[in-house]
Amino acid sequence: MNEMPVFQVRDFGVSFSQYENGVTRRELHVITNLDIELYEGKILAVVGSSGSGKSLLAHAILGILPDNAVVYGRMEYRGSRIGAEQIRALRGRKIGLIPQSVNYLDPLEKVGHQIERSVRGGKKKEKKKKVLEMMERYGLEAGVYDYYPHQLSGGMARKVLLSIALLSDCDILIADEPTPGLDEGSLREVLKDFRQAADEGKALLMITHDIQAACAVADRIAVFYAGSTLETADVSDFGGDGSLLRHPYSRALLRAMPDREFIPAAGNQPLPGNLPEGCLYYDRCPERRVNCKALRPGSRALRGGRVRCDYAT
């Protein structure tokens, strides 16, 4: 890919200041080395286990972290570097969030009115027309306009949330865990809706723990572990026996899938307060070397992807 990313994040980190026993302060590094690139018309999935810090990623990109969070690293929007102030200006206008559940809707207001609020400018009538068009495009009947959130099924709620994000004219959409608990039919629909949004020129970032869903929906997958992207690769590299993957952790993820070997890697992901000095995967890695313990590997390009392992080939 030679075109310029719409949005990119380099060596990005988030840490929290915490007080222990009331007096000692410590820094809790929740995200340490994160790199992502979003392209127009493409879907990137960030796949991480629970506790990897992945929901904070969405909050960081939208600039809605709590006050005791410290952010470092570099963020770029369409080639120019952006800081906290620009993020505030972009969110809701250029960067939109597709939240996880219907809980994000106002239970006391008609769904149609809520979607309408994301249309900027124009007369009331035109706004409603735009909303109805969007609803039709994503398979919602016109009658849904007058529904209240509790009348929506899970799938309808998802389409409503997607419509809100799409009408706000954002060119980057972040979906936080869009797939858990969906049956196969609904998963196919998410795929269809996301693909349609991407084909309309949006760049999508999907944050998920579900590598199967990621493989079904995304163009590229970033594997997230202990607050860091260990590997980014085309979705096709996740097929077959996984021998095209670059990082030992990505291969371990594939091996653990129920339709593959169902063999778990031993050990646990390190907790934020307890990160090792060297490679984050060191204590679980079957291919570790002496050097890996002391030095955290940087991110490097490899076979059309990126990897944080000095020995990957």
């Binding site: 629970s50 506790g51 858990p180 049956d183 723990h209 199967q212 594939l254 653990a256 129920p258 169902f262």
Partner: protein, 199 residues
């Protein structure tokens, strides 16, 4: 031992039954999958089997006898969201030991680190918490485990870790497992028999 639900009817709202004349049975040592699209009453049946809900008609029995309301429930239910199944004001050790004192070796093979015992639930991730919830339910007095989307929120490695451990335990103790899930591959991997509620 046999856990059996006979002719179960259940409706949350009058006139809109979720389960209508459903039969389901499982023997000790068996792993049975329970699947259907959302809204077909998988979780409702799970709750009825575990005694959390009383059906409007039909019976649940263990070896032909209805369950007693007092004492340890031999049918244990595990939920999808462990955060909602632990007391946020208790530390993990107390949460685990409320049910029983699992041997060191089981704690270790479930992947629970010693250091987590003294933490609050809010300091652990979903995958870490779920290991406690599963282990808590695996006392020898548990004869049947109802796993309702037990690992849906977890990553593949944690999922495989937990299930391998549960399977080993079930084999050893001749425990029956009902696996409620919509993930075809997981059901095929775990279950000798799969029941569909939608037809």
């Amino acid at each position: 031992m046999r856990l059996e639900a006979k002719d179960i009817c259940y409706a949350y709202q009058k006139g809109r039954p979720v389960l209508s004349h459903v039969n389901f049975g499982i023997e000790s040592g068996e792993a049975v999958g329970l699947t259907a699209p959302s809204g077909y009453g998988k979780s409702t049946l799970g709750k009825i089997l575990a005694g959390y809900l009383t059906p409007q008609s039909g019976t649940v029995s263990i070896d032909g006898k209805t369950r007693e309301d007092t004492g340890y429930n031999p049918v244990q239910l595990i939920f999808q969201h462990p955060e909602k199944a632990v007391n946020p004001r208790w530390k993990m050790k107390r949460i685990l030991n409320e049910a029983w004192n699992p041997p060191e070796e089981m704690i270790r093979s479930m992947g629970i680190e010693q250091d987590w015992m003294n933490r609050w639930p809010s300091e652990l991730s979903g995958g870490e918490l779920q290991r406690f919830c599963v282990l808590r339910a695996l006392s020898p007095r548990t004869r049947f485990l109802i796993a309702d989307e037990m690992t849906t929120m977890l990553d593949m490695i944690t999922q495989a870790q937990i299930w391998n451990e549960v399977r080993k335990h079930a084999e050893r103790e001749n425990m029956g497992i009902v696996v409620i899930s919509h993930e075809k591959h997981l059901l095929e991997r775990l279950c000798g028999r799969i029941v569909r509620l939608d037809g």
